[in-house]
């Protein structure tokens, strides 16, 4: 047999096995190291701090868990959130993340390692990304072989699509959820392959963990039944499928109902019905199979099938009927918005107002996945070539996740592991083919069609024929060696058996191989560079701390948020209620430790709309609302001085829309535009806009800052009027260094019972006519 290059022949197979196993461990360790290291940009560039919005709540909850213990946490009622309603935290969160950190915290403290809980929270996501790399390795190993697994692990370790949600400090549910997702899928595949209830049970346990950790568990709840259902339709029902699915579903569903936030949803809501339906179907089919084994009559079999299908339809109808009767809740709005991207904008502005719920833009696919997105289809096609049960799974996963990733930016995260797996399969096939020193027999090769033969020949998991590599075609060759020893062993033993080879040139020669390999390696190199660049520049900003560059190139930290929050924490009474738009609720609770009206757990639309109304109406209208809710301070984010575009004026239209949804008579969106339909804040702004509380609070005394020069709002690039708005019902209490955070104190009622505007005018010496006292309008709440 001809060889492209010679291999050492004096290695015993045991040495090869041990060496490759050691190399694998070393490679996995290095991959874990790289995965963790690349997530530390945020800590190095900034500091060990909790990022963004939701993580602040998780962090706060974890601190409660760590200091008060689990039972206190479970029964935690937080009176400071959603003032005056309060929030039953234990029952309205996925506790998996906090429980994980809590367990790590107690273990470390038990070992006399008093690590600060903040550092555990900050480092949790990078730590779990190493586990994700490992579980992706295990998953891909089931698809192809160890080498593909290592590639997949390396991809998932540094791919920006996953890093975007798991940098150090991004202490969110996704931090552990992706690991759980991949590991549950791996266990499912393992259970399906071996038909072992043990792996099914394990899959159920990790499914439980996943349910406890992330709302995205519904993805698993639907992916696995979909896979099972597809297999049934393909005529691939087997007892293994029955064992794996039944044990997973029975235990997993019961387990998932232990999480208070999930409760009875698995038997009550439509999202979970597919799993139940497939479960029922499997029972029926299994029974039918059992009966069939004991009966020979053809006619009877036909009858049997008819009744099976009939029952399936009946079951489906029953579910639909129950939905209409109200026993089973119909799909939720968030679910509808997955199918109709315009749905949310029409009916639930609060969901649409979140930027990560927007449809994905094309460039972000490239930014998040780079070359993987191109190799991805090749990997899917390679799955088709073998099409074992697990390949079907990957194909379905690829299709479903691709769709979801297109609908919502945030769901890019679920696509990423699948892309990594497929790309790794494709890449490793290329590498295997071109590194394999055995030169295929060109004549035989051409005759063979690659498609169907390969499937039947390699359908079982344990195929050990080491020589088969030479018989198969170029691309099928590596796929045919999924034996326990891996591709390397079979290659080496194949080489050893052939003893001698001759150097040849041409299409199979070393130079051609080298060209392809170098090309592939170059692509991988660029991938690494791209990932590092994107991670360090785009995904490592904590958003609590902003950075800009000084003229001399050094980094300048803009720390306005923490400045203002810390001021609130240190210099206001502990019971002072702070009103802000809901984006900042968790941060205020976490950093300023003050009660808030609304926060990022947007469960009460009316409450949010109330805040929206207060912000978008005039002072006279807003004041009774503020007083009614005991608001002491109002906090707005204003970027006009610095050019920080994520400020409240830019979010203002969403406040108007959400308020309009509840009070269509009082708040109308068109009133906030100019006559020409433009959104303006300068002289040309509409009167409603100029009188709104938000506008006034943002621009209060802003023009004076420019000392007589023309004031310019740097975000919107508009010139502000010389005379700024005045405030009668609020006092400026604090403004941060760069004016990003402005805090206003709500005045108490005038002690003389005057209208505050009149009182203010009186104090300024501008007596108004007393003939027409301004009637205070009642808030309509």
């Amino acid at each position: 047999m001809p060889l492209a290059y010679s291999l050492p022949t004096d290695l015993s197979p045991a040495t090869v096995v041990n060496a490759s196993s050691l190399l694998r461990i070393v490679a996995l360790a290095l991959i874990s190291g790289a995965a963790i290291a690349s997530r530390l940009f945020a800590v190095i560039n900034f500091e060990s701090v909790i990022h963004e919005f939701d993580p602040w709540f998780n962090y706060r909850a974890t601190r409660v868990l760590a200091s008060e213990g689990f039972y206190e946490f479970w029964n935690w009622f937080d009176p400071t959130a959603w003032y005056p309603l309060g929030r039953v935290v234990g029952g309205t969160i996925y506790p998996g993340l906090m429980a994980t950190s809590g367990v790590i915290y107690s273990i470390l403290h038990g070992l006399n390692l008093p690590v600060d809980i903040r550092n555990i929270c900050v480092m949790l996501a990078p730590g779990f990304s190493a586990l994700t790399a490992w579980s992706t390795y295990m998953f891909t190993k089931e698809m192809k072989d160890e080498s593909a697994g290592l590639l997949a692990a390396a991809f998932i370790g540094i791919v920006p699509g996953y890093i975007s949600r798991s940098v150090a400090g991004s202490y969110d549910n996704e931090a552990i959820a992706i690991f759980l997702l991949m590991f549950t899928f791996f266990l499912w595949i393992k259970a399906l392959k071996t038909g072992s209830a043990f792996f099914g049970t394990l899959a159920a346990l990790f499914y439980f963990y996943m349910v406890a950790a992330w709302g995205g568990y519904a993805f698993i709840t639907n992916m696995i039944p979909l896979h099972a259902f597809t297999l049934i339709l393909m005529g691939r029902f087997s007892s293994r499928l029955y064992v794996a699915y039944s044990s997973w579903y029975a235990i997993g569903t019961l387990a998932s109902m232990q999480v208070p936030f999930v409760g009875f949803q698995p038997v009550r809501t439509s999202e979970h019905m597919a799993a139940l339906g497939v479960f029922g179907l499997l029972q029926i089919i299994a029974f039918a199979e059992l009966v069939r084994a004991h009966v020979s009559s053809k006619q009877f079999q036909r009858l049997l099938y008819a009744s099976v299908i009939g029952m399936g339809i009946l079951g489906g109808l029953a579910i639909v009927g129950l939905t209409y009767k109200g026993w089973i809740a119909p799909w939720t709005g968030r679910f509808y918005s997955l199918w109709d991207t315009g749905y949310a904008k029409k009916y639930i502005p609060i969901i649409a107002s979140v930027s990560e719920h927007q449809p994905t833009a094309w460039p972000s696919f490239f930014m998040d996945l780079q070359l993987l997105i191109f190799v991805f289809p090749a990997g899917v096609i390679l799955c088709f070539r073998e099409l074992r049960d697990e390949h079907v799974f990957v194909i379905i996963y690829a299709v479903v996740a691709s769709y979801f990733a297109g609908v919502m930016v945030r769901l890019m995260l679920t696509l990423t592991p699948c892309v990594c797996v497929c790309a790794a399969v494709a890449f490793s096939s290329v590498l295997d083919t071109y590194i394999n020193p055995v030169e295929p027999d060109a004549v035989e090769e051409e005759a063979e069609t690659a498609g169907d033969g390969a499937v039947s020949a390699s359908s079982t998991a344990v195929s050990t024929s080491s020589g088969s590599a030479t018989k198969k075609g170029k691309k099928a060759a590596p796929a045919a060696q999924p034996g326990p020893l891996g591709g390397l062993v079979s290659t080496v033993s194949a080489v050893v058996s052939t003893k001698k080879g001759e150097k040849s040139r041409g299409i199979f020669g070393g130079d051609t191989r080298l060209a392809v390999l170098l090309n592939a390696l170059g692509m991988l190199l660029f991938f690494v560079l791209h990932c590092t660049y994107v991670t360090s520049s785009a995904y490592s900003s904590p958003s609590v701390v902003l950075a800009s560059t000084n003229p001399d190139g050094s980094q300048h930290i803009i720390d306005d948020f923490r400045e203002a929050y810390y001021w609130l924490r240190q210099n206001t009474p502990e019971t002072a209620v702070v009103m802000s738009w809901w984006d900042y609720g968790y941060q205020i609770a976490g950093m300023a430790d003050r009660p808030t009206l609304v926060d990022n757990n947007t469960w009460n639309n009316t409450h949010i709309a109330t805040v929206g109304k207060a912000m978008s109406s005039s002072e006279e209208v807003a004041y009774p609302i503020l007083r009614k809710h005991d608001v002491d301070y109002v906090l707005v984010i204003f970027g006009g001085l610095l050019g920080y575009s994520g400020d409240d004026i830019n979010k203002f239209l969403w406040m108007v829309r959400i308020a309009q949804g509840v009070w269509p008579d009082e708040i109308q969106e068109p009133n906030y535009f100019t006559a020409k339909g433009e959104y303006k804040v300068d002289d040309g702004a509409s009167n409603t806009m100029k009188n709104s509380l938000m506008y006034k609070m943002s621009y209060y005394r802003f023009a004076e800052l420019f000392g007589g020069n023309q004031a310019v709002d740097r975000v919107r690039g508009q010139q502000m009027p010389k005379i700024g708005p005045t405030l009668d019902y609020l006092d400026e209490a604090f403004t941060s260094e760069n004016w990003i955070v402005r805090i206003y104190q709500v005045k108490k009622e005038d002690p003389l019972g005057r209208d505050l505007r009149t009182a203010n005018a009186f104090e300024q010496g501008k007596r108004r006519k007393r003939s027409k006292p301004v009637a205070r309008r009642r808030a309509i709440v």
């Binding site: 500091e47 060990s48 701090v49 006399n112 390692l113 008093p114 701390v545 930290i557 720390d559 923490r562 400045e563 203002a564 929050y565 810390y566 001021w567 924490r569 240190q570 210099n571 976490g590 950093m591 005394r701 004076e704 800052l705 006092d731 400026e732 209490a733 604090f734 403004t735 941060s736 260094e737 004016w739 104190q745």
Partner: protein, 482 residues
């Protein structure tokens, strides 16, 4: 030496029952000059007693402090003029009738009849001034008020007495002119020149530490003056110093609660006005934009953070021995500290252990000197807790604080890689001032076995892991028989 009345309360009560005026008439003050240096939260009071003995062998002079003086005084020290030695001082009881606390000072040598000595008593009063008016707008100035008793309280007769009050700025808004002093002086009892107000001289004052004098004749004077620096208070200071022999490192960490005790901000904080005043360089006196702290020389990796993370606005200039005696840290709080505002932060640094510790071969003991506190210039420290964490396994611990703490005890502190924990000395103090910045000396033994405990524990843990891994790898968990 400072008398610590708080710890000696039982003693005080005891002496309250039987006030001892054994030496009450053995001295006479030929002259008393009291100088009061007004400041923000600290007021320095220096009183010079020219003493004449009335009988042979008079060696114990009695000082007296009225109740308010005592409450304010956090540091009291007596010396003979021109000498360095500090005289021993002891609490000598409380006179319930007049409300005067007595302290006895041992003179270096007993005086014969008509022998004289010049006794200088230095005191630092804390919380003695208060802002007046209590609220000030953001652009307003800052003025404080100080009230005190006019006559120096003494159990002896005084021939001549003069009280000088020095204000930090010549801008004195008002001062009181006591009346009804014809008995002691014929002239105008008060004169002002520049920043100094002088009361007296008063002559032929009887023993003032007496109810018959204090009640009818003691006068109260008040000075209302401008103060051009923010009045800072450290309401709470928690220092922990951790000694590591393996790392040859002394880590010191201070948790500091700052409070601006100046006039409360009237109305609201306006960033616009603040920026304008910064721009024009006319910062109002009660605003504290930043703070310069003197840290020890040769420090490494300093950190400055608060409850919600790192504060990036600080500069450090590390001083190196012997050229510079201290490192300078400029701390800028997250926001400028206006009157009445609070700010809390944590400050820490590492220093080479060799700069602080030594080994005494003769006793086999280590000696380490830990600075008691970081000076916040011009500030009084309300409650201080100093924790000194010794290496694990340290035995025979002795500690010598520079002055007696309110409370001190040893507890066990467990930290990284510890097996049984380390001894930690905790000292609690109240109302510390500039004068209190001393050094706590600690002596302890660390046996070799304790040194080796840590690496052994870590090695055992890792070994255990490897053995476990080895065992798991070799174990056959398959159930089926082949």
């Amino acid at each position: 030496m400072v008398p610590h009345w708080r710890r000696r309360l039982p003693l005080l009560l005891l002496s309250l029952l039987c006030p001892s005026f054994a030496s009450a008439h053995s001295f006479e003050n030929t002259a008393i000059v009291r100088t009061i240096d007004l400041g923000g939260s600290l007021v320095h009071v220096t009183t010079t007693y020219a003493v004449k003995a009335l009988e042979d062998g008079a060696g114990v002079y009695t000082l007296a402090l009225a109740e308010r003086e005592l409450k304010r005084t956090s540091w009291l020290e007596a010396k003979i003029k021109g000498q360095q030695n500090i005289l021993a001082m002891e609490s000598a009881g409380f006179d319930g009738e007049s409300g005067v606390y007595l302290f006895s000072v041992e003179l270096p040598e007993t005086l014969r009849t008509n022998g004289t000595a010049n006794l200088v008593v230095e005191a630092i009063e804390t919380h003695a001034t208060y802002p007046w008016p209590e609220e000030a707008g953001q652009k307003d100035g800052q003025s404080l008020k100080y009230e005190t008793d006019l006559f120096v309280v003494s159990p002896y007769k005084t021939s001549v007495e003069r009280i000088k009050i020095k204000s930090p700025s010549p801008n004195i808004l008002s001062y009181s002119t006591p009346e009804g002093l014809d008995e002691f002086t014929m002239e105008i009892p008060v004169t002002k020149s520049g920043a100094t107000i002088t009361y007296g001289p008063f002559s032929n004052i009887p023993a003032t530490a007496d109810a018959t004098f204090l009640k009818p004749k003691q006068k109260e004077v008040a000075v209302h003056y401008n103060y051009d620096h923010p009045v800072i208070e450290v309401t709470e200071l928690k220092r922990s110093a951790e000694i590591s022999h393996w790392g040859a490192n002394l880590n010191i960490e201070d948790k500091i609660h700052l409070h601006n005790a100046g006039p409360k901000l009237k109305g609201h904080f306006s960033r616009l006005e603040h920026q304008a005043s910064t721009f024009l360089g006319r910062m109002p006196p009660h605003v504290l934009p930043s703070l310069t702290l003197h840290l020890p020389p040769n420090i490494r990796s300093p950190y400055y953070y608060d409850l919600i993370g790192n504060v990036s606005t600080s500069h450090l200039r590390v001083g190196h021995l012997p050229a510079q005696q201290s490192s300078l840290l400029e701390v800028r709080p997250r926001y400028p500290l206006m009157g009445g505002w609070n700010y809390s932060f944590t400050l820490g640094w590492d220093s080479p252990l060799a700069d602080y510790a030594g080994y005494d071969k003769s006793t086999g003991k280590y000696v380490i000197g830990v600075p008691l506190m970081t000076l916040v210039p011009g500030a009084v420290v309300g409650d201080a807790e100093v924790t000194i964490i010794l290496p694990e396994g340290a035995t025979d611990v002795d500690f010598f604080p520079p002055f007696t703490p309110i409370q001190s005890y040893v507890k066990t502190h467990v930290t990284y890689l510890d097996t049984v924990g380390r001894p930690a000395i905790i000292l609690e103090y109240k109302d510390l001032t500039t004068k209190h910045a001393g050094t706590v000396y600690v002596m302890y033994k660390v046996p070799l076995s304790a040194h080796l405990k840590k690496p052994l524990a870590v090695a055992t843990a890792f070994m255990g892991l490897f053995v476990l891994g080895f065992a798991v790898r070799r174990m056959d968990v398959r159930i089926q028989k082949k």
